[in-house]
């Protein structure tokens, strides 16, 4: 059995996001990068599947810049077997569907039984790439997965939707699953794990190496980010303190009705 995890490098959740002076980019200087938090749940799930199915290889694959190697190494340190980095040089502006075309190409050449990824990247918040990749492979997918039970060539899967509703699916493998936060608790990489990670097999490939035509990908880009801006700053609000709680609360409730008109 083979499980492939799609990983994305994102800025740290606590990072301040700064826009470049020409408004066209997000500043990368001094930015701390992490494994997309949802992808850690995908890695953990892959490792749990491996633990239950003795003969199982876990591959971590990413489309990204050279620094992304360090993020993949974290997955290898957690216990994955092999890393694959597809360098994004020349197609840094690829949109979701273009990235999905590249990843689908990589998945075809790897032929895994299961692909896992995070439910969304916490940078562009799109929730596109995993789902699109499954469609291009003509596989089923379930995104926002909170429970996954694999048995033979099927999986029973739970997906969280709104108001606590849960959709329960039976899915034929191969298939792609997007991990949600409550799927599991990701393990920490141990010190021996970190030492071993650097010796594990790691492939650096170009888009061309995985059999995808770079020019086709470039020509298929359909969306772009033109510029960034900050949300409008709110004017300073009214702060009530050093008064009896009853009086402060009464005043705020009155303002909610008469000034803000929301109650």
């Amino acid at each position: 059995m083979k499980v492939l995890v799609l990983l994305k490098q994102t800025p740290d959740t606590e990072a301040k996001i700064q826009i470049s002076s020409d408004s066209k980019n997000i500043e990368t200087a001094g930015m701390k990068y992490i494994v997309n938090p949802y992808d850690e749940f995908a890695i953990e799930e892959a490792l749990q599947i491996k633990a239950k199915n003795g003969d199982c290889e876990v591959v971590i694959a990413s489309f990204g810049n050279a620094d992304t190697k360090d993020r993949i190494l974290k997955g290898l340190a957690m216990g994955a077997d092999r890393g694959l980095l597809i360098n994004n040089e020349g197609v840094e502006n690829a949109d979701s569907l273009a990235i999905a075309k590249i990843l689908a190409g990589a998945i075809k050449s790897e032929s895994p039984d299961i692909v896992l990824c995070g439910k969304q990247g916490i940078d562009d918040d799109n929730m596109h790439v995993g789902v699109m990749t499954a469609e291009l492979l003509d596989w089923a997918h379930v995104n926002v997965v909170t429970k996954l039970e694999v048995s033979g060539d099927t999986a029973k899967v739970e997906r969280e939707v709104e108001s606590g509703q849960v959709e329960v699916y039976e899915v034929k493998l191969p298939a792609l699953f997007g991990a949600h936060k409550s799927l599991n608790t990701p393990r920490y990489a141990s010190l021996p794990g970190i030492m071993k990670a650097k010796k594990k097999p790691f492939d650096n490939k170009t888009v061309g190496d995985i059999g995808v035509d770079l020019n086709d990908v470039k020509a298929s880009i359909k969306t772009s980010v033109e510029s960034y801006s900050y949300p409008a700053e709110k004017p300073a609000g009214k702060l009530f303190k050093d008064q009896p709680v009853e009086a402060m609360v009464a005043e705020v409730v009155k303002l909610l009705r008469e000034e803000a008109k929301v109650i």
């Binding site: 800025p11 996001i17 826009i19 997000i26 949802y38 949109d95 979701s96 569907l97 999905a100 916490i122 940078d123 562009d124 918040d125 929730m127 596109h128 789902v131 699109m132 469609e135 596989w139 997918h141 379930v142 926002v144 939707v161 709104e162 108001s163 606590g164 509703q165 849960v166 959709e167 329960v168 699916y169 039976e170 899915v171 034929k172 936060k181 298929s220 880009i221 359909k222 969306t223 980010v225 033109e226 510029s227 801006s229 900050y230 949300p231 709110k234 609000g237 009214k238 702060l239 009530f240 709680v245 009853e246 402060m248 609360v249 705020v252 409730v253 909610l256 803000a260 929301v262 109650i263």
Partner: protein, 321 residues
Amino acid sequence: MKVLVFLEQRDGKLKSSALEALTVANKMAKGEATNVAGLIIGDNVAALAAEVKDYGADTVFTANSDGLGKYNVLGYTAAVKAACDEFKPDVVLGIASPMGRDLFARCAARLDAGLLTDLVDIDFNGFSGGVKPMYAGKVLANVKFSGSGLKMATLRPNVFAAESSTGAAVAKQLNVTIDDSKIKTLEIKKGKSDKVDLTEASVIISGGRAMGDASKFEILHSCAEVIGASVGASRAAVDAGYAPHDMQVGQTGKTVNPQLYIACGISGAIQHMAGMRTSKVIVAINTDPDAPIFSVADYGIVADLFEAVPIMQEKFKELLK
């Protein structure tokens, strides 16, 4: 410009945000209802078409079949494809709900379309693009379609107003072949509450680490009951086990934009504020006058939430009598 709108329903009820999308579509089509069509997918949904009458669409396609009773992304994708084949739209619009986000990503890959998700502002003139929050709202991105081809987009709920407009909404049945050999929806389990989801709630009351214990959330639920609010939590409260993850507001939880957000015992970590800062009015209750949450609050109260919230509940009750 021809616009097809996916009108989402769950349990036979149309989402109110479906009308928001229909209104946006009608504006894109410059009020020409013949250029706007709705699409309703499910079992037993034929009657729902009439509910969108007077929202600016002349046609409502219905994909009505037993196999579409429970959401299944492949069955639904086949229905969207069938509607596109019939109507030949330039734009397909939907809502950035859990279903809309899942379905539109799958359809964009099937139809080789450009997809913009979670738009909060739109360029109506030819629909060249719009604005979407990124990094959970820390920045706004001005996003564009490039090239010709089909454009698909989902809109953030509660942002665009629904307005009535002439439209006959005549139902037209689509025939969709459903193949469930790859994925079957076995059941849809009901949530514990019948409350509106946080992402669509118009009033939210949230608790942070200062709640101290899961059972203490009861005071928020009790106050929420009075004002018809949904209850949320900060990541600190969720990580401490005081609240389930589906209540988490913030960057690794839900991004919300209610009319009123009441933050109780929440200090205001950057990732939390990213998820709620677009709320129209923010009230913060915290014992620490220097808590960052006060920087985004319209009304701040420096007090112990366990003292302030029950009083607030009583004041709301008097007001709404």
